[in-house]
Symmetry: C2
Subunit: 358 residues, 2 copies
């Protein structure tokens, strides 16, 4: 939208979050300025196999082909680095969301503790359903009830206290079936894809219905994505001075639900640019993929786009679910994806491995 | 907040927005991975004089000294690149906000046209005050009236239409006193400071009460800052399918007013990290500076912080205003800044030049 203004723009220099080692050493990816010739020479980064956990089949070739085309500076499909924006759903796209999403697991564990302190809530909904892990009741209880559940763990505390609470839980909690930490249940093929895209000049954003505050605690490390590139559902905050010191307190009111039509809205508000690649796995990602395909730049340039859906069809290594599921329902988006020719990735046939390599 | 999780984090690679030339050539700053030794060697970037438009006085030495300390990998004040977050107000800090803010000038021009088409509004407030440029009436009319004025130019259109409208206006509009385009009234010393910080591993964010959509049209070029690092006031959007194509429409409802206490809130929502440097010029920046000074990391690390206020005391080259002004009032923040020992930059004595060099 603003690229046409870049006319005689002086070459700037900028840095990007990467990572820091625990001892405070620095890993710095962006120093020095490159010129256009450098960029042209370097742009199509091609490791021997940048996606080793993907089977060598049609879908892998589609992905490699797309990235090759948009980074080929002499081709008609070339996309400038500034426009290489990729957006990824999180739950069910970058990590396991079954049997319940990890953030629900965190919230439910918090409700267990809370009800132990307030036994009068034991027989009241939605607390009763949470304690009994009765997802059928919860699925039909509506957003108000879910909000009440989430508020127990997600509000009435400072942002710093919330971060500590999530960190502490993640260290001890284990997935009920795989008996691994949740952060070990990120998908290896997706980590490779994220890294491959970044190596080819893409900026990779997470755009998730999950809470931004919840994700930022662990996703920066898990995905090598800076907090400001992790977009999620946000709650209202109050700015307060306590003993003359500034702090932020989390309130129970939800601001933006970053799901369904909220995804393109969040993309506009947070990124302010048109994505050219979007990857989701459920109906909550439908509008993000539609927007990625249809949105257009002001200047009239129409870059080639790539829309992908992960289909969970692997009950042996992970889970098999789509149209009938409450969590991660893939129904309308599957039909729309097939109709529009989006790339439907099969966990079972396209992926050599599922979870992060140890 | 998440740095303590970075333990054995594999070295990632990432790129950052820089710029693209109009002919589609690419300037790419971030390719390849550096190791810690590289970073240590490269970190304290010191040009002969990185701030040539700043007079060689105490304030310049304070700025250079601070950046030198936080980038000195062997010193006690060292801050990892991932934590070098700087936030800047826009109006009155990065460019001229007098006699009225540029976004008001845009909105007022739009109201002029609108009222010409709807003459029945000519004698109704707040339209009458706008047409007569009666800022006294507007200043006392309250946020509801201001919202009504802004809605004329800022809503009932798609995001793409809005971008075009701002671009077209910026090309033709001229500042009433300086007779230059508004984008030529960005401050040269601030452009140098932004570039100097980025050359030293900082990520520079704009955090402004101005509209995010308004700023992103021109600020990416003017400041070499990517749209996702430009945070401002946002309005509600509706996602729509028109003829089966996805688009976003701007609604008249304001979501987050990125001013006063809204600034630390926006910093948390959009950046998700604690800034270590903040630069403002008015009472609307007070909470951002308080939050920058007081906020603390989870892990207990307390990085040195730098808070700055630009004092407009130069009626000859720009404007002189502080406590008595409606636009850009600097009153409480000036007192608080003096009390807390923030750096008060004088336009008159600290800056060799004011506006962007041609």
């Amino acid at each position: 939208m603003w690229q046409h203004l870049l006319g005689n723009f002086p070459v700037g220099r900028s840095t990007e979050f990467l990572s820091s080692r625990s001892v405070g050493l620095v890993v710095l990816a962006a120093l020095g300025s490159f010129n256009a010739a450098d960029a042209q020479r370097l742009a199509p980064v091609q490791a021997a196999d940048p996606l080793p956990s993907w089977n060598d089949d049609a879908n892998k070739r589609i992905i490699l082909g797309y990235v090759g085309r948009v980074t080929n500076a002499t081709g008609k499909d070339f996309v400038a680095v500034a426009d290489r924006i990729a957006v990824f759903d999180n739950d069910g796209t970058l990590w396991c969301e079954r049997p319940i999403s990890v953030e629900f697991a965190f919230a439910f564990a918090g409700v267990d503790k809370y009800v132990a302190l307030h036994p009068e809530l034991r027989d009241r909904q939605p607390y009763k359903a949470v304690i009994e892990r009765d997802t059928l009741v919860l699925a039909t209880a509506g957003p108000q009830a879910i909000g009440e559940v989430m508020a127990v763990t997600h509000s009435r505390m400072t942002t710093t206290q919330f971060d500590s609470s999530v960190s502490a839980w993640l260290v001890s909690a284990r997935h009920p079936r795989f008996d691994r930490r949740y952060t070990e249940l990120v998908y290896q093929p997706m980590l490779e894809l994220l890294g491959y895209l970044r190596a080819n000049g893409f900026r990779t954003f997470v755009v998730s219905g999950g809470g931004a505050d919840f994700m930022r605690v662990w996703a920066a490390r898990s995905y090598a994505i800076a907090p400001d590139q992790i977009i999620g559902t946000t709650g209202r905050l109050s700015f307060e001075l306590r003993d003359g010191k500034a702090l932020l307190r989390k309130l129970a009111t939800v601001d933006l639900v970053e799901d369904g039509p909220g995804k393109p809205v969040g993309i506009h508000q947070y990124i302010g640019q048109q994505p050219i690649l979007a990857f989701g796995n459920s109906d909550g990602d439908l509008q993000m993929l539609q927007f990625t395909e249809d949105g257009h730049e002001d200047g009239g340039a129409r870059h080639p786009r790539m829309m992908l859906l992960l289909h969970h069809d692997d009950a042996v290594r992970e889970y098999a679910y789509d149209r009938g599921s409450w969590i991660g329902r893939l129904d309308k988006a599957l039909d729309e994806g097939r109709r529009r020719g989006w790339t439907i990735v099969s966990m079972k046939t396209d992926w050599k491995t599922v979870f992060k390599n140890p």
